[in-house]
């Protein structure tokens, strides 16, 4: 596997070899699917839309619908206004969504199409909504695109139209699976705090099979809910990379205070999430939740010898990776290589801070990195475990390291979009996966006389 990889240090300073990120529009498409009755629209050539739908479908194994402006060479020369207007007309007539969420591509961005103006000049039926986000593929990553579409939801839809804020919380869940979004809502429910969650892909990308296909499934935040988010008392922006800018805009536009939090993956981050709801709304933490938390602590104590002190490489999207660094530290593991493909030195600062606090000194931390680099590090000084996306599987095989699949995308395993890794229950799932991976490895590598029934 990967026999072509060089040995020793090499000069790799431009471009990416085995990237650990993709482009903005795909993130924007995912975010838009979290609006009820929304058809994401890709303003570019067909290939973009086809690729994004393919990629999202492979991760979620559920329908991902989106339309395209189908640029040809002519549109690329003369601008895509006519294509977008025709698209808006046709989409509302044929596919009848409540909302069209337009995102741009590197093609339409390079041309410089003025999307707000084109939307203003388009035929939009009464009661229907068109929003847009600029998502140039040559800036940031898919996480930036997700964040930009979340921000567009606020800028186009959210309104503060009540004199007094309602005792309800806005939860911006970040780029997580529908199973995670479902779990976040459950936690708010358990704490008795009414919540507006957006985007919300639960009941959109984890729908049941009933033989009755609906192009727009029951889930997703409604336009009405997003509008009402301007009247909420508090916003919790989970993961600053994906949710920070939408949360900040809600504060600026509608005066809703925003608390940025680490994605609630892991015990401490979940504690912070629960405490934010408790202190913001005077919520009582019920015994059932205390039991869930206690089970996590119990499991951590009971199984620590499965993973404590193990060297782990963590890669993926910044919000997920930061939370995983925190949780693996809670587990007593050593995150020695931490990498995201998304640009932004703040990532390195935040991870360094966590590692410093834990007394881990020899770690390598990289924003805007690639998996070629990660593999070079692992070759130089191996790790016991990798935590990251399916793209890590080649390194895992070449370097003979177990890989626990976490984050986006996971293309070679199923069910994960339905199983939360957020919250206390999510902690148990992560502990189980990490323990099992290391124990499988121990079993595989042990001599017959060391191969034991009880571990």
């Amino acid at each position: 596997m990967l026999d072509c990889m060089p040995t020793g240090t090499v000069e790799h300073t431009v471009g990416k070899i085995n990237p650990a990120k993709t482009c903005q529009p795909m993130g924007a498409m995912y975010a838009a699917l979290g609006i009820h009755g929304c058809l994401p629209h890709s303003h570019g050539s067909q290939g973009c839309c086809a690729y994004h739908r393919m990629h999202l479908t492979r991760h979620f194994r559920d329908p991902v619908l989106a339309s395209s402006s189908s640029f040809t060479e002519g549109a690329s020369v003369f601008g895509g206004a006519a294509n977008l207007k025709t698209s808006i007309k046709n989409v509302f007539e044929i596919y009848r969504p409540d909302v069209i969420a337009v995102h741009t591509t590197c093609l339409s961005e390079t041309i410089g199409d003025d999307i707000p103006n084109i939307i203003r000049e388009s035929e939009i039926p009464e009661g229907k909504t068109v929003i847009h986000a600029n998502t140039p593929s040559y800036q940031g990553s898919h996480i930036t695109g997700f964040a930009n579409m979340c921000r567009a939801m606020v800028s186009y839809i959210a309104e503060a139209d009540m004199p007094i804020k309602k005792p309800q919380v806005n939860i911006l869940p970040g780029f997580v699976n529908p199973g995670d979004m479902r779990e976040l809502r459950r936690l708010a429910d358990v704490l008795g705090v009414p919540a507006i969650l957006f985007p919300d892909t639960s009941n959109v990308l984890d729908t049941p099979l009933t033989s009755r296909y609906e192009m727009y499934p029951a889930g997703g935040a409604t336009v009405e809910e997003i509008r009402d988010s301007g009247n909420s008392r508090l916003t919790l922006a989970l993961g600053t990379w994906a949710s920070g800018s939408a949360g900040a805009l809600l504060q600026e536009k509608c005066g809703v205070p925003c608390i940025p939090l680490t994605l609630p993956i892991g015990l401490k981050a979940t504690d912070d999430f629960v405490m934010a709801l408790k202190s913001g709304f005077g919520a009582t933490v019920p015994d059932s939740l205390a039991i869930e938390r206690g089970q996590v602590v119990d499991t951590l104590i009971d199984t620590h010898f499965h993973y404590q002190g193990k060297r782990v490489a963590i890669f993926g999207d910044p919000d997920t990776v930061i939370a995983l660094v925190e949780f693996t530290l809670t587990m007593g593991m050593k995150p020695v290589y931490v990498l995201t493909g998304t640009p932004g030195s703040r990532f390195e600062t935040e991870v360094r801070q966590l590692l410093d606090e834990a007394g881990i000194e020899d770690a390598r931390v990289r924003a805007e990195g690639d998996l070629f680099e990660l593999q070079q590090w692992i070759r130089e000084d191996p790790v016991d475990l990798m935590l990251g996306t399916s793209y890590g599987k080649y390194i895992a095989r070449a370097e003979d390291v177990p890989l626990v699949r976490v984050g986006f995308p996971i293309l070679d395993r199923a069910v994960h979009p339905l199983m939360p890794i957020v919250g206390y229950r999510g902690c148990l799932r992560l502990i189980e996966q990490i323990s099992n991976a290391l124990l499988e490895r121990r079993d595989r590598d042990s001599l017959d006389e060391d191969y034991e029934l009880v571990l």
Partner: protein
């Protein structure tokens, strides 16, 4: 199961007038009494329509160029295009006598990862530097550069960058101007890739190729290991497979593509340009084959043997067919019990919707709706319509290579095949050399042929015709499942395969039978609903 005009009109009713008028031309109900049923194809998709189509980049890098295993393929553009075409198409590759494992780069992804400053100031320097670095790190035999949308818009001259890099490194650097907005679908990218491989690579090798019956397999991408199975069969018959274009192939092999006596063409759409250009330049004859389905495979093998006209080859071919058929048929018969009489839709790329009709028939199934994403009229109606196809603004943007016979290497087809001229002429009467009859000829009366099918039509055709099986891509797969209909990916084979040849037929039959019979299909209705009176069924 046939469709009638009224049902047909109903499907088109929700469309705005312009869309309806357009889409009508891309759909036909098969009527074998009509001499030539015309369909519109290879024209623009209407903006806003949820099409299955991709772009020129996908056709060039994703389909034709990407599988070449010993080249480093650098995608010049923002990160996305490289990322989505990384490891997603299942074109398998492995080391062989000419290519050691350390020369295989198939599992890697290279992108210049253009940033805003590159868009503003140009990305040529970055591209040049990246070529320098990857050549230094990996020492590939050759490098490709594939352009993405913004590259053409900002005017980066990737050809000049490639030329300069060739001079610096002494290896070939191919540049493909396959920006996604070119043409109307992947098809434009196939053509661009074909042109460059023909112009700059094919015929540059000096390898001696041994063997009495040397063939190339064109338009076979080794999805799920298909070409390995086809090669196994051909080698057992006595052929030497010189090169597969481009499944599990190497740059080295492609250079010697001209050394074969016969080109066999599996995917007509993506590679017919090279087949035709090689015929012009080298005189190499080509034969359209289909190795999907046991009867189709047997027919293709028989036609190939006839083309060479060698008695021993014909005899060995019959032995292989007899042995393999005897081995495979009893297994298929088991699955046939499940599949017999069932109907399918096939809406795939530019050849599979035709090829798989034969394999389905081996299982007693019939394809009642068939369509291509990015085909041209000749893929539906047959190559005889090519001279009548008018080029439009979009197709004019794709350059045509005008080749003439190579002064040294051109030989007439019968010389390639080692046949007397009269025997070759007589052969042409019987075997459709250099011809493809298209999909329509295999469709039964009342079945639907559909070009550039879209989401609305998929949904409505399923509701109207209620097929037992839907064969398409991953974007449709789960939609169709939600409607209660089994669906198999015919681009990625649901990560199974091979589906080609005799062994592939068994794998396909097993996969289809499993899809049709998996026990969960009977569990959709919860028990608490089963016993409650339900409006329609109870009334």
């Amino acid at each position: 199961m046939a469709i009638n005009e009224a049902q047909f009109e109903e499907i088109l009713t929700p469309y705005p007038d312009k869309v309806r008028k357009n889409r009508k031309k891309h759909l036909l109900i098969r009527d074998t009494t009509e001499a030539c049923q015309q369909i519109e194809a290879n024209t623009r998709t209407i903006p806003g329509i949820i099409s299955q189509r991709g772009c020129a980049f996908a056709g060039c890098k994703g389909v034709v160029v990407g599988p070449i295993k010993d080249m480093v393929h650098i995608v010049h553009g923002p990160v996305g295009c490289a990322y989505y075409s990384w490891g997603t198409r299942r074109n398998k590759a492995r080391a062989d006598a000419n290519t050691p494992p350390e020369q295989i780069f198939s599992q890697l992804c290279f992108t210049t990862d253009m940033q805003e400053s590159d868009i503003v100031f140009g990305g040529e320097k970055k591209l040049a530097k990246m070529i320098d670095e990857v050549v230094e790190i990996f020492h590939p035999r050759a490098v490709s550069i594939c352009a993405t949308c913004p590259v053409g818009l900002i005017g980066d001259d990737i050809g000049a960058v490639a030329k300069a890099a060739e001079e610096r490194h002494g290896i070939q650097v191919l540049s493909f101007n396959c920006e996604g907005y070119k043409g109307v679908s992947q098809s434009a990218g196939h053509h661009i890739a074909n042109n460059n491989l023909m112009e700059y690579v094919i015929g540059t090798g000096d390898r001696q190729v041994e063997g009495d019956f040397v063939v190339n397999i064109l338009g076979e991408y080794n999805i799920g290991g298909d070409s390995w199975e086809i090669e196994r069969i051909l080698e057992e018959c006595g052929y030497t497979v010189n090169c597969v274009l481009t499944g599990d192939t190497s740059y080295l092999d492609i250079r010697d593509l001209d050394k074969a006596s016969l080109n066999i063409v599996q995917c007509h759409r993506s590679i017919n340009y090279i087949a035709e250009m090689m015929e012009t330049k080298y005189g190499t004859p080509w034969l359209k084959c289909n190795f999907i389905g046991i009867n189709a495979t047997a027919q293709s093998l028989r036609e190939m043997a006839q083309v060479f006209g060698d008695e021993a080859l014909i005899r060995r071919t019959e032995e292989v067919i007899a042995r393999e058929t005897a081995r495979v048929t009893p297994v298929l018969d088991q699955y046939r019990k499940v599949c017999e009489g069932k109907t399918a839709f096939g809406i795939v790329g530019g050849s599979r919707s035709h090829h798989y009709q034969h394999l389905l028939r081996d299982l007693g199934m019939e394809m009642i709706v068939a369509g291509y994403e990015f085909a041209h009229r000749d893929d539906y109606e047959g190559r005889q319509v090519i001279p009548t196809i008018k080029s439009d603004a979009d197709s004019k943007n794709i350059p045509e290579l005008h080749l003439s016979p190579d002064e040294e290497l051109y030989r007439e087809a019968h010389v390639h095949l080692n046949l007397p001229k009269e025997r070759y002429d007589e052969l042409c009467e019987r075997i459709p050399l250099g011809y493809y009859a298209g999909l329509n000829t295999d469709m039964k009366d009342g079945s639907v042929v559909i070009d550039d099918c879209n989401h609305h039509e998929v949904e409505e055709l399923i509701r109207t015709l209620k097929p037992d099986l839907f064969l398409s891509g991953v974007r449709d797969k789960y939609i169709v499942h939600k409607m209660g209909v089994p669906s198999k990916q015919l681009h990625a084979y649901d990560y199974s395969g091979p589906y080609a040849g005799f062994n592939g037929a068994i794998v396909f039959a097993r996969d289809v039978a499993n899809a049709l019979t998996t026990p969960a299909w009977n569990l959709i209705t919860p028990p608490w609903e089963e016993y409650e009176p339900q409006g329609e069924t109870d009334a």
